[in-house]
Amino acid sequence: MAAIKSGKASASSIVNNFLNQGKRPYFLASVYLALGTLLVYFNPLNMASFFFLLSSAFVIYKLQMHGGFKLAITAVALLIIVPIIGIRNIFYLEVIFQISVFAALALGLNVVVGFAGLLDLGYVAFYAVGAYLWAFFGSQQMFLLAEIPGTAPSGTPFFLPADMFYLFAFLGIVVAALTGILLGLPVLRLRGDYLAVVTLGFGEVIRVLANNLDKPLNITNGPQGITPIQRPTLPEGLLNSLRVLMDPLVGRDVSQGEFYNLFFYLLALLVIIFVIIVVRRLDDSKIGRALTAIREDETAAVSMGIPLTRMKLTAFAVGASFAGIMGVMFAANRTFVSPESFSFMQSIGVLTMVILGGIGSIPGVILGAAVVIILNLQVLQGLSLYLSQLRQSEAVIPIIDFAWKNLSTQLDPAKYQRMLFGIILILMMIYRPAGLIPAARRKRELSTRSKDKKKPITPSSTAAEADHGAA
């Protein structure tokens, strides 16, 4: 069969062959990672070296290596390198934590939007449900139900012990999934645009509820938000032994707060791994195939015996549950939640990650989350910082003779998040509608056929013609 590739594709395949010869990829990946680590280790404040280190994840993903080695090198990076450099510059740990949280959200939304094709614009509501769940039970709020917001008497005890957090992480899954089902029941009859509008409304309803449920009973403490929220306790013994290990590597005493950052990072990692496993297993099963079939053609799907409503509810529930557990974690990590964190913009942000990375593609969606978070937290804020430095300097733009200090303070890139999302979405739609790492359907036929060799295969007389057709 004449599978002739275009010139461009063959150029990239030459590069691929070159990189993936013999032991070369193993060497490359190790050197890349080591170089990144050293760069960040010795310049903890340099953004470029941090990007370099992050990009090694992509390099490891792309090179063709033995699966076990990939796993091992990723584990080293995530469990040893990130903690050390993360504690040396705690901001990096925060960035990576946020990437993990949003990657989990994006993966959840991906089940709904990517697999089942249901456009959910209020996804962040489920995140809010998880967050407020622990915020309410893990704080003093239970004893403040009758109080006006902001008038908490001092010395109010916490309602539950801090370690109930773990139970609530689990409950977050359940409650968010149930919320998903409750929302889904009336809504899933709608198609396309209507569904998007209703879910958008639902997202806003949850936020407005959070804003206003401070009366008659003060459940959410209104716009001020709930604080403090407990974090689970860290066992002293473990901390001390970790300290002995970490202090010399980091070069100074590691504080309790920094250990909490590390702890939440590891927790988020755990959840992400769990989420990835769930999503992959779903995708490669009757349930995943049914969801994709619904996305492709509802009428045909239902005629194959797929119960539409139940399947869509499943998608909603699974997607919501990921957001739920991440919500609980977010509340504990911040020790504070307020309605602001769950605005419509957040939903759009998560959707941007999915679209940017590649709808339906697991590695794509994770990459999408990383890119959006970094743009948001680092690039835009870095630009803001840079501009404000310029404003204070005497510098002048040469040709148009414009003094930087006259630049309006309104021009603050950090505020241009929306524009950024907008631009990303537009550019992606034009140039790479399938995303940075497009989803690929699994190739299955050959593996099945080789297993199935013994069975007699009776090619019908048209088999040859079918092959021509595909060529």
Binding site: A3, R281, E296, A300, G305, A470
Partner: protein
């Protein structure tokens, strides 16, 4: 006991009685066909059987259970599977996955098993994949299992749809025009396949079909409906000679062909082919074009030309590249190499809408009408580039004159038209443009025999009276060769034969490959 029993089934759409008090009994192990003119209500009846529509009146009983009021997925559990007239595959899933989805009701994995990857789950998946591979082999799909369904040529998609419906291990299989878009050779194979399904697998078949050779060849019983009502019922030979059926559906030509097998192959060529008006002036010429779908090399250096006033036909097997040639001309697929000239003007790189403006009309395979727009709006879109309102008006009048049925359906949504009505709409939309050359991709697909004759007469008329040159792709190669002046034969992306249509029709290889012997 009958496997399926429908009594007094009625379905209305507003004032339209699409199905009117229809009775139908399907005995287990039978092959029963439903035929009738376009828009008679055949597909609508299927949709009420499978639960996509709820009948307004009547009973439907399957093995003692009433199906009325059940959802489609519940009805599927009674081992009833179907295919669709307009092919509804899961386009962005692979061939294998499409078949696996078809097995949905036969797989018992639930959420815990899926998440834990239990042994039960793995075993079931393994068996499902093996079974899918078997089905692919059975339907001649081996080798394309990992291709996306959308990348397959039309005829192969039809086979995949049947494979998918078989994956459910149905007792009753509803096939809605399964051989539309297949060439005579393939429909012959399909016929054998259906018989095999019944004889070897014990599957009962309810068939809608416009190909009379298939219907008469394999049906035990035939039900004929017109305007939603049953007008005849009986064995094939009874139906063939039923005057009412001939009048409403078969048309005298097809009926004669059926009763007198000889005449079909040698039907007199109805028009004396006067040499085309200003033969010699080349209207469209294609030089050495290469087209790809992704990495699939679909056209390998095709060259052909159409002179002003000519009817030229492309014939060849499914996947030979006929549709791709038309799509490349109209700019929907980009030629990587070669030139396309329209009256000497190079249109190779023009965007599709400018190619239309230059005078190329394209009626695509599978209709490509806008399902959510009304008939009027669909036609309006066709006229989008014409600024001359009176001209548009005249054109509209003209197409309504050709297809009076469309006038009755002006405000109906395109997606709810019957298959044949959609086909008429697609052709009408192509005509409104008043093209210099019309690219017709399987214009007779899904049309009742009477209308097939009509369509070819229209093609001839357009060519003769309006001087529109026509490039025609048609599975019904026999008809196409009768009406065309010249023909090209395509095979795997290359032209293997060209010449005078009548000579091509006499070519022994062409005869055996495309004309069914």
């Amino acid at each position: 006991m009958a496997l399926l029993e429908a009594r007094g089934v009625t379905k209305r759409f507003g004032g339209l009685l699409a199905v009117n008090k229809l009775d139908l009994t399907v005995e287990a192990g039978a092959i029963v066909s439903i035929i009738g003119p376009n828009g008679a209500g055949k597909t609508t009846f299927f949709n009420t059987l499978t639960g996509l529509y709820r009948p307004d009146e009547g009973h439907i009983v399957c093995q003692g259970h009433s199906l009325v009021g059940l959802r489609p997925d519940q009805i599927a559990k009674f081992s009833i599977a179907r295919t669709f007239q307009n092919i509804r595959l899961f386009a962005n899933m692979t061939v294998m996955e499409n078949i696996l989805v078809g097995m949905h009701t036969r797989l018992f994995q639930d959420m815990p098993n899926v998440l834990l990857r239990s042994r039960k789950f793995k075993l079931e998946e393994e068996q499902a994949h093996a079974r899918a591979a078997e089905l692919m082999a059975f339907m001649g799909l081996t080798g394309v299992g990992d291709e996306l369904a959308s990348s397959l040529p039309y005829g192969v998609q039809r086979r995949l749809e049947i494979a998918r419906s078989l994956a459910a291990d149905p007792k009753l299989l509803l096939l809605d025009e399964p051989t539309a878009g297949m060439n005579p050779q393939e429909s012959c194979e399909a016929m054998i396949l259906f018989q095999k399904l019944r004889d070897q697998l014990g599957i009962t078949i309810l068939l809608i079909e416009h190909d009379m050779k298939v219907v008469m060849g394999i049906s035990d019983r035939i039900t004929v409906i017109d305007y939603g009502e049953k007008i005849a019922e009986g064995a094939p030979h009874e139906i063939q000679s039923n005057t009412r059926v001939i009048e409403a559906y078969l048309g005298s030509g097809a009926a004669a062909a059926l009763t007198n097998k000889e005449s079909e192959a040698r039907r007199p060529i109805q028009l004396e082919k006067s040499p085309a008006p200003d033969a010699g002036a080349t209207l469209l010429s294609i030089e050495n074009i290469d087209s790809y779908y992704g990495h699939i090399h679909a056209l390998k250096g095709i060259s052909l030309e159409v002179k002003a006033g000519e009817i030229v036909t492309l014939i060849g097997a499914n996947g030979a590249g006929k549709s791709t040639t038309l799509r490349t001309i109209s700019g929907l697929v980009r030629a990587r190499q070669g030139k396309i000239l329209l009256r000497g003007q190079n249109i190779t790189k023009l965007p599709p809408h400018d190619i239309v403006k230059a005078g190329v009309g394209h009626v695509p395979e599978g209709r490509g009408i806008f399902p959510r727009l009304t008939v009027r709006e669909n036609l309006g879109v066709g006229a989008f580039i014409i600024n001359d309102q009176p001209l548009v008006q005249r054109r509209m009048e003209y197409v309504f004159h050709l297809f009076p049925l469309l006038k009755e359906r002006l405000d109906q949504k395109g997606g709810t038209l019957s298959g044949g009505e959609q086909q008429m709409l697609a052709i009408a939309r192509g005509l409104i443009l008043n093209p210099k050359i019309l690219l017709l991709d399987e214009p007779s697909m899904g049309l009742a025999p009477v209308l097939v004759d009509l369509i070819f007469q229209i093609i001839e008329k357009l060519n003769k009276e309006d001087g529109i040159a026509i490039l025609l792709v048609e599975q019904n190669a026999h008809m196409a060769l009768q009406y065309a002046h010249r023909a090209y034969v395509l095979s795997t992306g290359q032209i293997v034969l060209q010449g005078d249509a009548r000579e091509i029709a006499q070519n022994p290889q062409v005869k055996s490959a495309y004309l069914g012997g």
